[in-house]
Symmetry: C2
Subunit: 498 residues, 2 copies
């Protein structure tokens, strides 16, 4: 298997370059001195160039062709060949000039979006967005697709994802969740939140709380770090060195804790990757949807459960004895589970969140197919918010201009957020069957059984299978909205008696 | 000049790889999670391999040969060709197998040295050291030399340095400084240090003091950082991103401040490099001796002057009002200038420091020439300490095993420390001629004139000339011990009335 060894050696080279890129990216967000920005851009451009050269090396194409014609490859080897082929095709099908043209456009577009959002004026961003949509279409044409152009874009972020797979998921969500939200809104109940807003929450206490919860979940701080950054993320070069960040606000203590649990979910996934497959694509985390399932699991399914609130309450009281003096677990649980339609995706609760995503998904489909003109986009956005969430933006900044994604050319990305939510519910449902003591485990702060289950069924499986097949293997059912809808319905019932 | 442009492009590639290596090195020392050690080693090995491949590319040899035969290159181009040739020769003359053999040996040797030092038993390190000396000799033979093998080793750390240049410097030091130290020792006076040892010095106060002094000197924290690490150093990828570290001890507040001033000196040198020569060897800092001159300048020549102590005293009092209540500038000045022969190099004062180096230099010469056997080394070491410093180690850990350098194969490195001390005195002497207000500037905390002088005469000159020529250009005199000896004599006179 000399040829396969050569493939692995080349893939290792590419992986090491990516590791350097991850470290540079982390450093840039967390602690790089401000004047280093342009020299960092130069270093990152060098990394991109080196990686691209290796990914598109004609020898890589020859090796893959030969290996694809061979019998007797095992599962792992099959996966590595499949994933290397996918990366090779994606890298070689896009002309180099086209890629650098897009990169330049995106830099420009990010600036016009920032200005448009600041000035609350869509027209500033309009032309760049129109161009981005055109680029996305051309990109889809270069990459190829069977059914719809938009499928080619979805596949960039979640391998094998198509509109024909996604439509039923969003349909199920829309039909079941929208009425649920409406019924909550109609009741007009809101838990007492004055104990949060009337107090100040010092950063040190939030840091300690974040740290303790992340440790309890099972994040290994000997092989990772916690830091602060403006935009929380999980990065770092490899499973020995996983670095996540959170941010602190003295008026809102939930952002840092739930952000930490979210990134801890991503981080434990990275730390749980199969180490015998280091430097191999088959050993990587499996796409954005599965990754988001791990973050959402700990942030929402676990973090916003009553059992977790019961366990974590003493930790809150330890850090904030005065603020928390009269707060009990049920109050805490209600405060972190307010269901309330709102305009901003990143502030949305777990019930309404997927409706925000659904709206973006439907709009992206229309934009790529040409059934929606850019000039009609802002009003269409507002109409859909009114239709599905019952709230209407009063300006563009809290409407169509709120998200950074389109300014970066990331069209087809949003749906992976919802996939993560659906997968997390399916995975927890399956895990519960194997872990009958689950609820009392959480109540006792025993997170190892659940993390162990995820390690075995998800983390250790790397990217050996396509994401949808991994969900089938781990849960026995294909991707579906049912588990999530049941979970939500049950929660709303317990919270509001609906 | 298509050929020269190709050279620059190749040199830029090499420089960018080195930048990544610097960042990885900084991260490793400052904040990397412990379990990442072996994966970091793999990343660094990749960096080394990529850099080596580019440095030894046969095309590089062709380009250099052609350019060396050309007329009409300007100073900068001449320097780039000369420095690229030096790097090419050094990289290609050592066989790849030999280099990796040494790397492996050094890893092993570092372990045996660590154990030997811990157990205070030279015999544990003996064989590995003997092998390192043998490797050093073979390395010298591969690299080539005119006069002495040891010259080839010196040249690795300071281009153009030879025994015939160094011997007179050390002779001057030995003859002048040794009697000075003796006369101080005979007086047996020691300033009152109880105000230091009787107090505790909190880390936060030391941090603030370090930061304020470094800012006052002119280190740009928008293009750099201060952090803590076990072994203080100055690193970072490029002049936009210079990162230095210090360490804190609650029982000794001087280590952090003087360490900070030392690294600030290195850091301002890096920040002052000629930016029109980015990515070019001619734009790099000029060897270890000149680099050390900048650190020693701020740490010793400025930092241990009475004028500086007068300026900095209020800052000390601001951070440590109780500890410093009864301390005046003269007391502070005396406390940071205790001249006292001791066994440990890194703890030595500025008068005795160079005697420590001279002993190592003389011993290295003897070891490489074969005039001293490894088995006779420990006693030889102790004898020389007794002869030149009047103190005799009572064990090996505080004797021959104290320094890490030989365990890393760094033979020929020590003399650059003394060069730094001599250069710093020469540079300050020359700067004083242009800056008649120097002493009062320092007393007023106006460091910009001196930093400006160094920027113009040293920093902005990059590596356009050989280090010794840079000293001649900047000071009007070749490297010499006189300025340093005069400075020391003057200081001892003021301190002790000798």
């Amino acid at each position: 298997m000399q040829l396969y060894d050569e493939l692995l050696e080349r893939l290792k080279d590419i992986d090491l370059i990516s590791q350097l890129g991850s470290l540079l990216g982390w450093d840039q967000e967390v602690l790089m001195p401000p004047e280093a920005a342009s020299s960092r851009a130069e270093q990152l451009a060098w990394i991109s160039k080196e990686r691209h050269t290796r990914k598109t090396d004609p020898r890589m194409g020859e090796i893959l062709e030969e290996l694809e014609g061979m019998d007797g490859l095992d599962d792992i080897a099959e996966a590595n060949v499949r994933l290397a082929r996918d990366a090779y095709d994606k890298a070689t099908r896009l002309p180099t000039d086209f890629v650098s043209e897009i990169a330049k456009h995106n830099s420009k577009s990010l600036i016009s979006w920032t200005e448009a959002r600041e000035k609350n004026d869509f027209s500033i961003f309009r032309d760049d967005l129109a161009k981005s949509i055109d680029y996305a279409r051309r990109k889809a044409d270069y990459l190829g697709y069977e059914d719809l152009r938009y499928d080619a874009l979805l596949d960039i972020y979640e391998s094998g994802l198509t509109v024909s797979r996604l439509d039923p998921l969003f349909k199920g969500l829309r039909e079941e969740v929208a009425p649920l939200i409406k019924s909550v809104a109609e009741r007009g109940e809101r838990p007492d939140m004055s104990w949060i807003s009337n107090n100040s929450w010092d950063e040190e206490g939030q840091e300690k709380l974040s740290q303790k919860v992340s440790e309890a979940i099972g994040f290994n701080f000997q092989a990772g770090r916690r830091d602060a950054s403006t935009h929380p993320f999980c990065g770092g070069p490899n499973p020995d060195d996983v670095r996540w960040t959170t941010r602190y606000s003295e008026s809102d203590p939930f952002g840092s804790l739930y952000g930490s649990m979210h990134e801890t979910g991503h981080g434990t996934y990275e730390q749980g990757r199969p180490r015998d497959l280091d430097f191999q694509p088959a050993g990587n985390a499996n796409g954005l949807g599965i990754h988001e399932s791990q973050s959402r699991l700990w942030e929402n399914q676990i973090g916003r459960s009553l059992e977790f609130c019961e366990w974590v309450l003493p930790l809150w009281k330890e850090q904030f004895p005065e603020n928390m003096e009269d707060v009990d677990a049920v109050q805490l649980w209600k405060a972190v589970n307010v269901v309330e339609p709102s305009l901003i995706r990143v502030d949305a609760d777990e019930a309404t969140y997927n409706i925000h995503i659904m709206i973006r998904y439907e709009i992206e489909k229309l934009l790529i197919s040409g059934d929606l003109e850019v000039d009609d986009l802002p009003d269409k956005w507002d109409d859909m918010y009114e239709e599905y969430l019952g709230v209407r933006p009063t300006d563009r900044s809290t409407g169509v201009l709120q998200d950074i994604h389109w300014s970066m050319g990331a069209i087809g990305y949003f749906p992976t957020y919802t996939l993560g939510n659906l997968y997390s519910a399916q995975l927890l449902l399956a895990a519960r069957e194997d872990l009958p003591e689950h609820d009392s485990n959480i109540r006792n702060g025993e997170f190892a059984p659940l993390l162990g289950w995820m390690r075995e069924r998800v983390h250790r499986r790397g990217s050996i299978m396509e994401p949808a097949d991994l969900i089938i293997e781990a849960t026995g059912t294909p991707p579906s909205p049912e588990a999530f809808v049941d979970y939500l319905r049950n929660k709303v019932e317990r919270l509001y008696g609906i």
